[in-house]
């Protein structure tokens, strides 16, 4: 297990370094410099600006400096906002995004898994069709459309929740459901199909033959085995929640990292794009690592295989 963790940690660091380097050079490849505005700046000012952000150093030196700072956790200044660093922006935005994302993931698990189980238990009945239909709906309706529709119905139509903003519990509901839409649908489908597979296994027949109640069979014997595929998709689901936040935070006017990210892209605030991209990748790689650990812990077969390989 220790070897497994060590190897994963090394590969995690490698991935983040590769992403950081690739993004760094990509940002430097851009033809228009960060200070290209509508109004042309005098060359002296551009020179001063470049000196301030060390853009006049040779490229390799800029890269080495950036990487050095990155290792210390310093993502540098923002090009757009004087006196703000990329770290400031992440510190401001991430807690908001994380809170919203957490609620969305919890919603997805709390709704998606029971829906899937329900569908599987009533296989081929109308309940099953309903679950599959809802799941397909959730996968097919893009999150920005979902956001607009929910806002239109519940905020502008029924006036049960505020349309936008951040700070009160009521303002979390709509964006959280929007973000959870895709994960709910995805989990419901996954849980349904794995449940159907598990229910055909012999140990379920055995459990039933022992005379266990249906509830015990489902919740004790079947559910545990469904959790493994669910855990494996948590990584991509978390990613979906992150990237979903780009547009959801914009629509609901939530001061989260996703919105800052999109703003920085439209502003061509290269250092912020670079820094936040690295942050996102590091976060996601770390989440995937946690998921893998949970996975190995849940399923002893995986630990065994990993050990044999390494």
């Amino acid at each position: 297990m220790l070897k497994f963790i060590l190897r994963r940690v090394l590969s995690m660091i490698l991935v983040v370094l590769i992403v950081a380097s690739a993004t760094f050079f990509m940002m430097r490849l851009l033809p228009s410099g960060p200070f290209a505005r509508e109004k042309k700046l005098p060359p002296e000012i551009i020179k001063n600006l470049e000196a301030r952000y060390h853009l006049d150093d040779p490229l390799w030196k800029q890269y080495v400096d950036y990487m050095k700072n990155l290792l210390r956790g310093d993502l540098g200044p923002s090009f757009k906002y004087k006196n703000r660093t990329v770290n400031n922006i992440i510190n401001d935005g991430f807690p908001v995004s994380a809170a919203l994302g957490l609620v969305a993931v919890l919603l997805a698990v709390a709704i998606g898994i029971p829906l899937g189980i329900w569908g599987a238990l009533k296989q081929n009945g109308w309940q099953d069709s309903l679950v599959m239909f809802v799941a397909l709906l959730g996968v097919s309706v893009p999150n920005f459309i979902m956001a607009v529709l929910l806002m239109f119905i519940f905020a502008l139509g029924l006036h049960v929740v505020p349309a936008a903003g951040w700070g009160s519990f009521k303002q979390v509901i709509l964006p959280a459901f929007t973000l959870a839409g895709y994960p709910i649908a995805f989990l419901a489908r996954l849980v349904r199909s794995s449940m159907l597979e598990v229910l055909r296994q012999e140990y379920i027949t055995t459990a039933r033959a022992k005379g266990l109640s249906e509830r015990l069979v489902i919740f004790r014997h079947a559910l545990r085995n469904i959790l493994i595929p669910v855990v494996t998709v948590l990584g991509p689901l978390i990613a979906a929640v992150f990237t979903g936040s780009f547009v959801v935070e914009k629509i609901f006017a939530i001061p989260g990292l996703g919105r800052y990210y999109v703003t920085s892209i439209n502003d061509r605030d290269y250092t912020t794009i670079l820094g936040v991209t690295i942050f996102y990748s590091a976060l996601l790689v770390f989440m995937n690592f946690l998921v893998d650990l949970t996975y190995a812990w849940l399923d002893p077969r995986i630990r065994y295989v990993e050990r044999k390989v390494s």
Partner: protein, 320 residues
């Protein structure tokens, strides 16, 4: 033959001695009784026809294609024609979907948008197909160290949210002066092939151990012939399913990019642009966002329905 079919009994024909036929002598004759031999594909088509949702999805897609091609041609308005005296019209007979903030006919714009969305879906799926199949095929066929390195690269790319890569590529190419639509093609086409590569690799890994692959090798077929003529056609089922399911994600990504202002932009009407414009006016003119929203959702629906049906029909491992 025809005299023996059951419905003719009902019409009063009693089965007499003359209606019995001798047992078939040749395999051609036998086939007249058993029907054509079922192949993998005819079997799949039969199964997909029984799946109502998939059939509905298929016809929606056909209808969308027709609307995309014919719609803008027969419409009396053009997608960019402004009519500043008739802005924000509610839906009427003249403008069934109403008009937008510049008086442009929303129906024409939505129909025009379907061209862009379908083009994005098809071009990106084709790019993903080419890259993913080639990459996965080569990785699996040559195996060993080649496979290790190629799959490690895929693992690394998998670690980054696809949308972030797409956004970065879009920013890069946009500032390089590539036209927005081509930019979307490139950005999506270059990033969404990862699942395809993995699926093809998995298929080829098992297929290359089969006898027909060995047979091809023994008669001296070159590697690329074995891979592209023998192995990949046998993996076509899962490949088609993956392509069908990648089309809606490409369409979604384009709409998403245009929505946040990175994809195609005005006056060109993509569904993402229309939805974005509509959102700004949602409080006063909700129908403006309604129609593009319906169009996007319906399209994604149709492709997902069809993709699901295809998966059930073509992927024998999922057969129940």
């Amino acid at each position: 033959m025809a005299a023996n079919t059951p419905w003719q009994f009902k019409e009063g024909l009693t089965p007499g001695a003359g209606s019995f036929l001798p047992a078939p002598q040749s395999s051609e004759e036998l086939q007249q009784f058993t029907g054509r031999p079922t192949t993998y594909w005819s079997d799949a088509i039969r199964r997909i026809r029984r799946n109502k949702l998939a059939v509905v999805g298929f016809w929606i897609i056909v209808a969308l294609l027709v609307v995309a091609v014919v719609g803008p041609m027969v419409s009396p308005y053009s997608y960019e024609e402004q009519d500043l005296e008739n802005t924000f019209q509610s839906p009427t007979l003249r403008h069934p979907f109403g008009t937008d903030q510049l008086g442009r006919d929303q129906l024409t714009r939505v129909m025009y948008g379907s061209r862009i969305s379908l083009a994005v879906g098809i071009v990106c799926a084709a790019l993903n197909f080419l890259i993913g199949v080639t990459y996965g095929g080569i990785s699996a066929y040559f195996g060993g160290r080649v496979d290790d390195i190629m799959m490690r690269i895929v693992d690394i790319l998998y670690g980054i949210p696809t949308l972030i890569i797409v956004i970065l590529l879009t920013v890069l190419f946009k500032d390089k002066g590539v036209s927005p639509l081509v930019n979307v093609f490139i950005a999506i086409g270059l990033t969404y092939w990862l699942p395809m590569a993995r699926i093809v690799r998995g298929e080829i890994l098992s297929l290359k151990e089969r006898e027909f692959a060995l047979a091809a090798k023994t008669i001296g077929a070159p590697n690329n012939r074995i891979l592209f003529r023998h192995l990949i056609p046998n993996a076509m089922g899962p490949i088609i399913v993956t392509v069908t399911l990648e089309i809606p994600s490409a369409i979604f990504t384009e709409a998403f990019l245009s929505y946040i202002g990175l994809g195609v932009s005005a006056p060109v009407a993509s569904w993402g642009v229309l939805a974005s414009d509509g959102t700004e006016a949602i409080r006063s003119f909700p129908y403006l966002v309604l129609f593009p929203a319906l169009a996007i959702s319906l399209t994604m629906f149709a492709f997902n329905f069809l993709g699901d049906g295809l998966r059930d029909a073509l992927d024998p491992r999922l057969r129940q």
